[in-house]
């Protein structure tokens, strides 16, 4: 159980306070309700590039990192298709420095041309390092457009291509900031060795004077149901063949999400999971195989990925995956197996309560979904899932005409 208090400033900024005096540290986590899905299809990769620019100095403070490091703090950020999340960890005694820095960059950035030029280069190197110069690195650049034909999830957070990043201009940066980086579009969580009163006072002082800005109303093209089998095969400079099968699944906020998450656990969590046991150990067809759920705010993906052994054909390997998927559709999951994945989920939640930053990020994320307190009710929702729901969800998801298959063939 993670206890917290919540208040909202007049400008719309939502603030959540989690007091935890077992640590001498404090965390400040700010989630902006903007991700790669909010980008213009002709300017992809922008939300992520923008995240880099948030460290290039703000209107009153020339550098972001230096003053934070000077008070013993550390920070980082990440961008997903749904959100952009910034976080600071610092000695609680120096909490105000975090408020000073974060409020100034919410107020306005410096919009320096030099920073834009350098970060364009840095992000292009990131693109190369993580997506182009790695075996299978481009998988999301290929798989997303196969699964999504309308929704902006069809591009990865890094962007569709290097050119989109190369052509980013300072005017675009300014417009993006104005549109998305407003108090009413943000959720701040302050946790650790802090008090509610202290956070209220600091929030009033540093964040209340920031103008509310205009409310961004999201109106994205939704992805229609898939009714055709999709497939792409690429021959690439990779050492081994690789199979990806992606299925469209309900959004994170959908009641069916919990059953789906347990399905992915049954298939692939730990060495007792079905795909590993059957396909790696017993039938000896794959060297590795995994399944995971994207947990997206809009319609998401469940992806099964496996590398067949070298003497196994793609056809045989694919058929073996489908056999496992059909098994979970056709037979109720045994009670012990369902208890197992529920126990695992429950203990993971208990362990996650030991990490302050994880707690803060979770509170922000669930507040975005509607209410931070949802975090405290996750376990019971998993525990309520029954075998029938597992089977029904499996049947509705694991259909050939809901699948997008991407095959990598190793160039010999």
């Amino acid at each position: 159980m993670v206890k917290f208090n919540r208040f909202i400033l007049d400008n719309g900024l939502r603030v959540i306070v989690h007091e935890d005096n077992t640590t001498p540290m404090a965390v400040v986590n700010i989630l902006y309700d903007v991700g790669a899905r909010d980008e213009n299809p002709e300017q992809t990769g922008f939300a992520h590039l923008f995240e880099h620019l948030m460290f290039g100095g703000s209107v009153n403070i020339p550098t972001y990192d230096e003053p934070l490091q000077r008070v013993g703090g550390e920070n980082n950020a990440f961008t997903s298709n749904d959100i952009t999340n910034y976080y600071i960890t610092l000695p609680a005694a120096n909490l105000e420095t975090a408020f000073w820095l974060e409020s100034d960059r919410m107020l306005s950035l410096a919009f320096s041309e030099k920073s834009l030029e350098v970060q364009r280069n840095v992000v292009m190197e990131e693109f190369k390092q993580r997506y182009l110069n790695q075996p299978y690195g481009d998988v999301w650049l290929r798989l997303r457009p196969l699964v999504y034909k309308h929704h902006p999830y069809q591009w990865a957070t890094i962007g569709k291509n290097l050119e989109h990043i190369e052509h980013a201009k300072i005017e675009d940066v300014k417009a993006f900031f104005k549109k998305h980086y407003t108090p009413q579009n943000a959720i701040m969580v302050v946790g650790g060795d802090v008090t509610l009163e202290q956070v209220k006072q600091l929030a009033e002082k540093w964040f209340a004077p920031i103008p509310a800005g205009e409310k961004y109303v999201r109106n994205l093209p939704q992805e229609p149901e898939q009714h055709e089998e999709r497939r792409e095969t690429v021959t690439a400079k990779v050492p081994l063949n690789d199979i990806y099968i992606a299925f469209q699944v309900p959004a994170r906020t959908d009641g069916d999400y919990f059953a789906l998450d347990l399905i992915s656990d049954i298939l692939s969590r730990g060495q007792s999971s079905r795909l590993y046991r059957s396909l790696v150990k017993e039938k000896q067809l794959f060297s590795e195989i995994h399944a995971h759920l994207t947990g997206s705010s809009d319609k998401g993906m469940l992806v099964v990925e496996g590398k067949p052994l070298e003497n196994v054909s793609i056809e045989e390997a694919e058929a073996a995956i489908w056999l496992e998927l059909e098994a979970i559709c056709n037979n109720p999951v045994p009670e012990d197996e369902l208890i197992k994945v529920k126990n695992k989920t429950e203990s993971t939640m208990v362990f996650s309560e030991m990490a302050l930053l994880d707690k803060a990020m979770n509170l922000a994320f669930f507040e975005l979904l509607g209410d931070a307190d949802l975090f405290n009710h996750e376990t019971e929702k998993y525990l309520a899932v029954n075998a029938q729901q597992i089977q029904e969800q499996s049947k509705s998801v694991f259909r050939r005409d809901n699948s997008s298959t991407l095959i990598y063939l190793a160039e010999k």
């Binding site: 990192d65 008070v71 000695p91 420095t97 409020s103 190197e125 000896q284 429950e346 030991m354």
Partner: protein, 424 residues
């Protein structure tokens, strides 16, 4: 009116007291260290074993004997072990390290009665079944093929080989080395290594007396092998060749790794060298990051570090840079090294690094597990908690002159081992 150009006041960073463990030695020689703290009803138990002496003819034995621990005993098959652990929501990890190999159990306290007997079985009676070994060999060889396509992996392997030579640290293992693994060797290795007299047990979590008793009782029947574990290691002899270039004509980026053998944590200079390393490349605001990423935009990231091992240590700089700017990046690295050898670090920069390092130390003490980790750092280096007192004192008081002297004493760019994989 709020003046946003002025930074708020900030205070000095006081390091909290580290939790020191309770210690007992079991009759069978196993050393037990216990950290009781925290509110959650859970526990992390680590069985830590010193690796056996490295045999260059069989370089993968320590790693394989550890990784395959969960693959079957006389009583339990690989899948029964996995079922038992997973059913109770526990996590069992076998982790091979350069100096020690560890078996870790994360478990809710209330399930220890069901999970501990599995660990006992694994540590006393692993059988290394032929079939599981074959699967392991095949899958590891496939994974190795993927790793060997990554420039940063190739650079790390070449660098370790250069500075650590023909030792457990330097030999990463080739596909052929997997082929010669066999059950007899593994069983021999297992018997000698996984015995109580070669084990340190570190328990952390909400561990009251009855929980401790439950753990020690579960291991009552654990006895030593007829011969003690030989955990001595051959002396590290670095290679003579300093330059290693692997040409990858299609590379978009080049992986660079360079550095040289260094003193380890047990040496009196180590804490000050950590400060020097932090200035150069040990944090986001470091000189290498500021210059090569934030000013030039050559890379997504660059950093430096000191890997401190029991029988050796190395200082290294690592990055992946645009293939077209590889030359310039190396020239900039050289410039930054030279600067630290000739110019004094300003008090402004040094005070920032001091505070950053103290904040980082404080932040690394998040929960009872981190306190146990701090203990392992000193314990396995043969040090005591005095190390942390000395470490914080040196961070606070080391002078710019000291650091410049250390840079001159320890860093000679021309004699650095330099590895480049990609284009140059």
């Amino acid at each position: 009116m709020l003046d946003r150009t002025i930074a708020p006041d900030f205070g000095s960073i006081d390091i909290i007291k580290l939790i020191e463990p309770e210690h007992t030695t079991l009759p069978n020689g196993c050393e037990v260290y216990l950290f009781d703290s925290g509110d959650q009803e859970l526990v992390r138990i680590e069985w830590i074993f010193g690796n056996l002496r490295f045999n260059p003819e069989k370089p993968l034995l320590n790693m394989a004997a550890n990784t395959l621990l969960t693959e079957g005993t006389s009583a339990l098959t690989s899948s029964q072990i996995a079922d038992r652990i997973d059913y109770y929501g526990a996590f069992l990890q076998a982790e091979y390290g350069y100096d020690q190999s560890t078996v870790t159990l994360y478990s809710l306290t209330r399930h220890l009665g069901s999970t501990l007997p599995v660990i006992f079985d694994v540590l006393t009676d692993s059988q290394y079944p032929e079939k599981e070994l074959d699967t392991f060999i095949r899958n590891q060889q496939q994974k190795l093929q993927v790793s060997l396509q990554k420039n940063d992996v190739l650079a790390r392997r070449a660098f370790n080989k250069a500075v650590y030579g023909n030792t457990i640290y330097g030999q990463s293992g080739e596909a052929a080395d997997y082929q010669q693994l066999n059950c007899t060797d593994l069983l021999d290795h297992f018997k000698q290594m996984y015995q109580p007299s070669n084990c340190t047990l570190v328990i952390a979590g909400k561990v009251k007396e009855d929980t401790l008793k439950q753990i020690t009782d579960a291991f009552n029947g654990w006895t030593n092998y007829s011969q003690p574990a030989n955990t001595t290691q051959p002396t590290v002899i670095p290679q003579t060749e300093r330059l290693y270039f692997t040409d990858k004509p299609d590379a978009l980026q080049s992986a660079i790794r360079m550095g040289l053998p260094m003193v380890n944590r047990a040496h009196p200079d180590f804490p000050a060298l950590q400060v020097l390393n932090t200035v150069l490349g040990g944090y986001f605001g470091s000189r290498l990051m500021a210059n090569i990423r934030e000013d030039k935009g050559y890379t997504y990231g660059i950093g430096s570090g000191i890997s401190s091992l029991k029988h050796g240590s190395a200082f290294f700089i690592a990055t992946e840079v645009g293939a077209d700017v590889c030359h310039s990046a190396i020239a900039e690295i050289e410039k930054e090294i030279k600067l630290l050898k000739t110019e004094l670090i300003s008090e402004e920069e040094l005070s920032l690094v001091r505070n950053y390092m103290l904040g980082s130390l404080l932040g690394s003490l998040e929960n009872v597990f981190s306190h146990a980790d701090k203990f392992k750092n000193v314990y396995f280096s043969g040090l005591t908690y005095d190390y942390y007192t000395r470490y914080t004192e040196i961070i606070k008081h080391v002078t710019a002159e000291d650091l410049r002297a250390l840079a001159n004493q320890y860093w000679d760019f021309d004699s650095f081992y330099k590895v480049i994989v990609g284009k140059y």
